[in-house]
């Protein structure tokens, strides 16, 4: 089985090691990984802000790059949803957009639903983890159980978190268009964060926002993308 990795721009720039972890993990599970070099951004920031013209041309570009892939896997829920759910809206009647839509998976979703893997290893034994459900992964892709299952089966303890399914306030351009509201949302979310060793999520944007805000408040916690932890689950 061959998978094309869509790293997405934020992870490429800010969580590069999550990309490395994704490649290692998929290879360890017997999957061949391609990384099409021409890839950049899925166009979500432009799309969400209403700039459809720019979003369209980025979507067409991405379609061209991934159209022949067997599967496209992203370590990001919101970009996966952009390709899966919003490309067909952005490019109505485009058969390629629909075709790609069916082949796109967020990493944990791919592991559980396509590979049928639910047990990676025991590498997270005893780790106390707080899991933030990225909104698009949760509500647009329906990824709720997969990450938790993989983490728990690797021995991690997922700490109860009242606001685990609440939006963190990132929202792409929202975070800079309405910075005060965005920060208030992060603060509310963080005020209920349990004392965990690690905070994780499928989405780089949420993690940047939350870890930045946490740092401003003088709090320190390891914050890493889910992909990194899944590799640790496997490799120990």
């Amino acid at each position: 089985m061959r998978v094309a990795l869509f790293i997405t721009c934020l992870a490429d720039q800010f969580y590069a090691e999550a990309g490395v972890a994704t490649v290692r993990l998929l290879r360890a599970l017997g999957v061949e990984v391609d990384f099409p070099q021409e890839q950049t951004c899925c166009g979500q920031p432009a799309f969400n802000a209403g700039h459809w013209k720019e979003a369209r041309s980025l979507a067409r570009r991405t379609l061209g790059i991934f159209q022949d892939a067997e599967y496209v896997v992203l370590p990001s829920g919101s970009c996966a949803s952009m390709v899966k759910n919003h490309y067909p809206e952005l490019l109505p009647g485009d058969g390629e957009a629909l075709g790609l839509s069916e082949k796109v998976y967020e990493l944990s979703q791919f592991l559980v639903r396509v590979l049928g893997v639910s047990q990676l290893g025991k590498g997270l034994s005893g780790k106390r983890i707080a899991y933030h459900h990225g909104c698009h992964a949760l509500r647009e892709l329906g990824v709720r159980e997969e990450p938790l299952l993989l983490l728990e089966n690797a021995g991690a303890e997922i700490l109860p978190w009242e606001a685990a399914e609440e939006c963190c306030g990132f929202g792409g351009l929202f975070s800079v268009k309405l910075p005060e509201v965005s920060l208030a949302m992060a603060d509310r979310k963080l005020s209920t964060l349990p004392e965990a060793e690690v905070l994780t999520s499928t989405d780089a944007g949420c993690l940047l926002h939350l870890s930045g805000r946490m740092g401003k408040g003088g709090r320190n916690m390891r914050v890493v993308p889910l992909a990194t932890l899944l590799w640790e689950a496997y490799a120990g």
Partner: protein
């Protein structure tokens, strides 16, 4: 109500800075309602019922002219006087005539968002009529001279100490009076008003076309009094509030209550069938004013019409993490929160309401909560797209997005940008964005090497 939607970003920021208590009060109350909704939805096949409700509303909206005719016919058969109002002017004219004909000096009013939309209170006051809001929350904000902060809980932004201070100033109650004691004071004032008012005003949750029945939901019992004690009752009804059949109430009353407050049914439901007949008690005259005020235009807007399914239950406000930070006031119009962000542009025009579609992270919690499955995130995206097409986006944003798209369209530029992030100067257009980001979150810390370089090392 005068719309101040344009001020949303400023007002939201100001409120967060100056009145942190609002955030606390609103967060607490909405979380409570939201928990109630989730539990109440959990007791039934919510998905199936929401889908059914959506279909009924879609059927109604796609046959609206027929149902409006039927409703008018049935209402008249029951002795109700029916009026049509294109907008506030016509609604006001109708009300002015009624006030003049009956020499109205006092009116009691049930909570209604449509009457806020139409500016009914200022009109009545200008006519020398004393108006009493009879919903307790609505009464509080009337005393304060504020607009509602929430569709269902108008005074959701107030804390108990604020209410205690308000009543202390007005009625001389002690500063530590219990909520029960405060309610008792309000009740005394309102009772007197009920018994002396010549006019009762209400909205309507539903108007059943088949039978001409007005349905009103509440928990306090005051609507019942407002609509039955005064000799004249006027109900303002948005044309989208119709339901085809009486049987539909069996679906919509419980679904609305569950969505709004997590109740299986509201404490009181009034089904109004026209004025009192011989030997009955009740109003001598019942008037229904069917109000358009932009709704027909919205109905013909193929990308935005779904918003008209709205039942005004407020569930989307309770679920919305953006609304929770500020309550409804910064939105600057009657309808706030997620529903306001997609309804206000339709009612006020996008130019007036421009920033509101951006008052969301597109997290989707509103859609999950909505009993009639209004795809709010999709509608937000539609209004944003239009805003950009109409040139409403600020210059810095357009510049930044264009620069961003340029970079992302070319792997070469992207790689340059990647280097720039790690030391070189960044393009001017992106700087204001970066500043806005780092102020609240500290500097951006890119990985030492981007993944696309690490990939070279990973290749087999």
């Amino acid at each position: 109500m005068q719309a101040k939607a344009k001020l949303y970003p400023k007002e939201a920021a100001r409120l967060l800075r100056e009145k942190p208590g609002v955030r606390e009060a609103v967060t607490g109350a909405t979380l409570h309602f939201e928990e109630g909704r989730k539990k109440a939805y959990g007791e039934m096949d919510a998905e199936a019922l929401r889908e059914r409700a959506k279909r009924v509303k879609d059927h109604l909206l796609t046959h609206l002219d027929q149902y409006l005719e039927l409703a008018e016919k049935r209402l008249r058969e029951k002795g109700v006087q029916v009026h049509w109002a294109e907008g506030p002017e016509e609604a006001h004219r109708t009300l002015r005539e009624i006030v003049a004909r009956h020499g109205v000096k006092r009116a009691v009013k049930a909570k209604s968002m449509l009457t806020e939309e139409l500016g009914v209170n200022p009109l009545l006051e200008s006519l020398g009529v004393e108006v009493f809001e009879t919903d307790l929350g609505e009464y509080l904000i009337q005393l304060l001279g504020e607009p509602p902060s929430h569709i269902v809980g108008p005074a959701i932004h107030l804390s108990l100490p604020e209410i205690q201070r308000l009543f202390h100033g007005r009625f001389g109650t002690p500063l530590d009076a219990s909520p029960e004691a405060l309610a008792a004071v309000a009740r005394k004032v309102l009772r007197e008003a009920f018994l002396t008012a010549e006019l009762g005003i209400s909205g309507a949750n539903f108007l059943v076309a088949e039978t001409g029945t007005l349905a009103l939901m509440e928990n306090e019992g005051n609507i019942r009094l407002s609509t039955s004690l005064p000799k004249v009752h006027v109900a303002f009804v948005g044309i989208e509030k119709l339901l085809p059949r009486l049987a539909d109430l069996a679906l919509f009353l419980p679904l609305t209550a569950r969505a709004a407050t997590g109740q299986r049914l509201s404490t009181y439901v009034s089904l109004i069938q026209g004025p009192a007949k011989e030997g009955e008690e009740g109003p001598e005259e019942v008037h229904v004013v069917l109000v358009d005020h932009g709704r027909t235009t919205l109905l013909h807007d193929l990308e935005a019409w779904e918003v008209l399914r709205c039942l005004r239950c407020g569930a989307c406000l309770n679920a919305c993490p953006v609304y929770r930070q500020t309550g409804g006031h910064p939105y600057g119009y009657v309808y706030s929160g997620p529903i306001g962000a997609v309804l206000d542009p339709g009612l006020l025009g996008l130019e007036e309401a421009y920033p509101l579609p951006y008052a969301s992270t597109l997290c989707g919690a509103c859609y999950e909560a909505c009993p009639v499955k209004i795809p709010i995130p999709k509608l937000l995206l539609t209004w944003r797209k239009r805003a950009v097409e109409r040139g409403l986006a600020p210059t810095w944003e357009r510049g930044a997005i264009q620069a961003f798209a340029k970079v992302m369209e070319s792997p070469t530029l992207y790689r340059l940008f990647s280097k720039a992030l790690r030391g070189l100067p960044l393009p001017q257009d992106l700087l204001p964005l970066l500043r806005a980001w780092t102020e609240g979150r500290g500097p951006l810390k890119p990985s030492p090497k981007p993944f696309h370089l690490l990939w070279q090392e990973l290749k087999e």
